[in-house]
Point group: C2
Chain length 461, copies 2
């Protein structure tokens, strides 16, 4: 099949100018999903994809939802490996518009110190990325008339507005969507030379605690000393959440937190992650998590507890001698391995309640929970894809973690019973969600070639 | 002299309707000092007092300041005890006006379940109070043609707007204002039956700490675990400020904190202070300060540390997985005895700095400091005034503490070298600074009689 693949890669190189034109067409559609003013544009972007996929020979359609439509398409081989591809065609708003150097919906190709880029809202997140996969399919089809795998597309138009229709849609279309493996193209490279398959995504548990003390704000002169100050209670609780070694003190917190395998540790060591540069980019020097862990472990494979917000009393300019009636904090936990969010929520609430004195009461607000996603990398497609990526890029691909959450992989697992490979070609400096978003032409070109290789490799795995 | 006094008291009773008319005249002048729109009204109130005191035979004048004028007057006996009387003729703003049941500047006499009241802005704070003293003088002068003491008035028009001109004025007029003792009428009764002389006022030290961590707010997924969270640092610092016994942990904090004398403890025990009712009025049950101290000690004679405000990260509705770049708190200490505010500020800053990890830095904002005021109750006027008050009211007078700060007494001591007796007749339910402020007619009437007695008693002490 190597010869088959080589022809596809050559076709990709030859077709790159046209592929760029097509991406620019799609980028010109301002498919901002969160703003109702752009609803018809979001629909137009969906229709653009449907038309393009139909032209390629897929059977494509818009599936309406209460929000924006799903673009669904099927095609490729009649048997063999069945892959589901996920990307999203909606984009973030562009505000503040005055910080853009060009029209966010009039894409331009620019020369930069790091090579050519295509600059527009959605260039990286996620139109440029999803088109790498579409273009890889186009080249395969152009050269061979078919694909070596069976393929389903499921592309969303609400990813940037909280995906309200996604779970109901997946639940209502289990049978139609289920495949052997999902490919999700919404992540990044490890660095400009090193591709990555994200195999570990931390989960997230969000809680808000509101500690109520006196019936109203009090004058700290008249009542100070005698009246319980809920801000003091809150500070004690928050301080108690970590020990001196940076470990989270909730009972049972580390149940289900696995140690890295030797194989993964060795891959990560090989990445040459520059912790100094990573922290230095935000003005820091010292990894702040558990003693004895590397910065990479802290963000990829270790759980955390963070105070995301807290407030009590008077926070304006100057001073007010108020003894506040309430104090509140938003606290989140990043979860790994098989940590159970519901058990940890209960443990957290017990921990807090045990520290509420007689004259206070506590109120909890549930801000959601999702477990970590840990991919089944024993599936042969993972090593096949890793080898394929390693063939394309200057440095070998690695299985990496991600500190944040990408819920779609969890939904594919829990609703469709399907593992996901998260592969993408974005760079840290793509400025997604910010003004002047861009996607490197190198990401786009090698991205298309990467998918062509992966389709080939997975079909033979 | 008893006969002299009795005639004065009889005159006060007889003149009460006219005294009320005069108070209502003064209350009709909207002397809101903080709002420039009322500047001419503030001046008019000052002129009203000057005219009234001149009519009584005092030599009265407005002394201009960069802000509102001081009303200064001298008169009374040529020799003997020399007293300085302080009150303020400015008032708080009336907002929110829609919560008033009557026009705040159209005083009315109302019958209530607890007796007649005069309702208007400033009725209690402080026009009603200062007029108790003026009316006592009027009665003495009407009956005897003179006073048994030498008297200086110093009445301020900026008390409700931070007294910006007060200290420079006192410093520039040391010789003219210095007397044997100051009488300050801006405090309250212990309860409706029990008059009080406030002899201990807590001082106040205000500090703001701002802990800076990362150069910008971070995504808690991308950086959580590896990046230091300043909110966590702040929580630890604030939690460390108290031990498990409710004591403040700053080194040296209790230096200069005296134990109550047996005499004072005995007086306080005799007050029958109802801690349950005091805390119950604001929805609390348990004195929250140092273990083993009574609630009255906690608010009158023990120092405190309170968090008056704190903020970090996202505090709006919902949730945001932000790792904040900074966290800040406003912290104040109520001081007693001879605690040194400047030494404690330094101790606090050392305490905080010792808890700032390598990747954070701390910024401090000085929000002022004043030491506690502890009156020299050994001055014979104190016991004389206490006896005089005890003669007038149903229950004996007590020397009491006050949790809040009244800076004027400290200034009289530090600038004029003069002790102060703080005596007033306000009640806890007078709603000062709030809508529907009132002053009980009983406070006004007995207040005038109280001053007549005190002038008599001090003249013979």
């Amino acid at each position: 099949m190597t010869n088959d693949l080589n022809k596809v890669l050559a076709r990709i190189d030859q077709d790159l100018p046209d592929a760029l034109d097509r991406l620019q067409d799609l980028l010109r559609i301002p498919s901002v999903s969160t703003d109702p003013a752009f609803a018809s544009d979001v629909d137009r972007a969906a229709q653009w994809l449907v038309n393009d996929l139909n032209n390629l020979g897929f059977s494509a359609r818009k599936d309406e939802t209460p929000g924006h439509p799903m673009v669904v398409a099927t095609g490729g081989a009649q048997d063999g490996a069945h892959l589901l591809f996920y990307g999203h065609y909606d984009v973030q708003p562009v505000d503040p518009l005055d910080l853009w150097n060009t029209d966010p919906f009039d894409p331009v190709i620019e020369d930069t110190a790091n090579g050519k880029v295509i600059r527009a809202r959605g260039a990286s997140d996620d139109k440029g990325q999803l088109m790498t996969f579409v273009e890889a399919c186009r080249a395969w089809l152009a050269v061979h008339g078919t694909l070596p795998v069976k393929l389903t597309f499921c592309m969303e138009g609400e990813e940037e507005s909280g995906s309200p229709s996604l779970v109901p849609y997946l639940e209502a279309n289990r049978d139609a969507l289920r495949a052997d493996l999902a490919l999700i193209c919404d992540t990044g490279l490890f660095d400009a030379q090193t591709p990555a398959i994200t195999t570990m995504l931390r989960g997230l548990l969000g809680e808000e605690i509101i500690i109520h003390g006196p019936a109203r704000d009090l004058h700290s002169g008249a009542f100070g000393g005698a009246a319980m100050n809920p801000a003091r209670v809150l500070a004690r609780i928050l301080a108690d959440l970590h020990d001196d070694q940076g470990r989270v003190t909730l009972p049972g917190f580390y149940d289900g937190v696995p140690e890295l395998t030797d194989a993964l540790r060795s891959q990560w060591d090989g990445l040459g992650f520059d912790a100094d540069a990573f922290l230095g980019s935000v003005g820091l020097k010292h990894p702040a998590g558990e003693a004895g862990r590397s910065a990479l472990e802290m963000i990829w494979s270790r759980p955390t507890c963070e105070i995301n917000g807290m407030t009590a009393g008077y926070t304006g300019a100057g001073f007010k001698t108020v003894l506040p009636a309430r104090a509140s904090a938003k606290v989140s936990f990043r979860l790994v391995g098989s940590q159970n969010p519901q058990e940890l929520r209960a443990a957290f609430r017990d921990f807090v309640r045990a520290r509420i004195p007689a004259d206070c009461r506590v109120e909890f607000i549930d801000h959601g929970a999702s477990p970590a996603s840990v991919m089944e990398t024993s599936h042969p497609a993972f090593e096949a894809a890793r080898a394929a990526l390693s063939d394309e890029w200057p440095k070998p691909a690695a299985f990496v973690g991600a500190g944040g959450s990408i819920p779609i992989a969890g939904y594919f697992k829990s609703i469709l019973g399907m593992d996901s490979m998260l592969i993408g070609f974005a760079k840290d400096d793509d400025q997604i969600h910010s003004p002047n978003e861009k996607y490197d032409l190198d990401s786009f070109h090698r991205g298309i070639r990467s998918w062509a290789r992966i389709i080939d490799a997975v079909s033979r795995a």
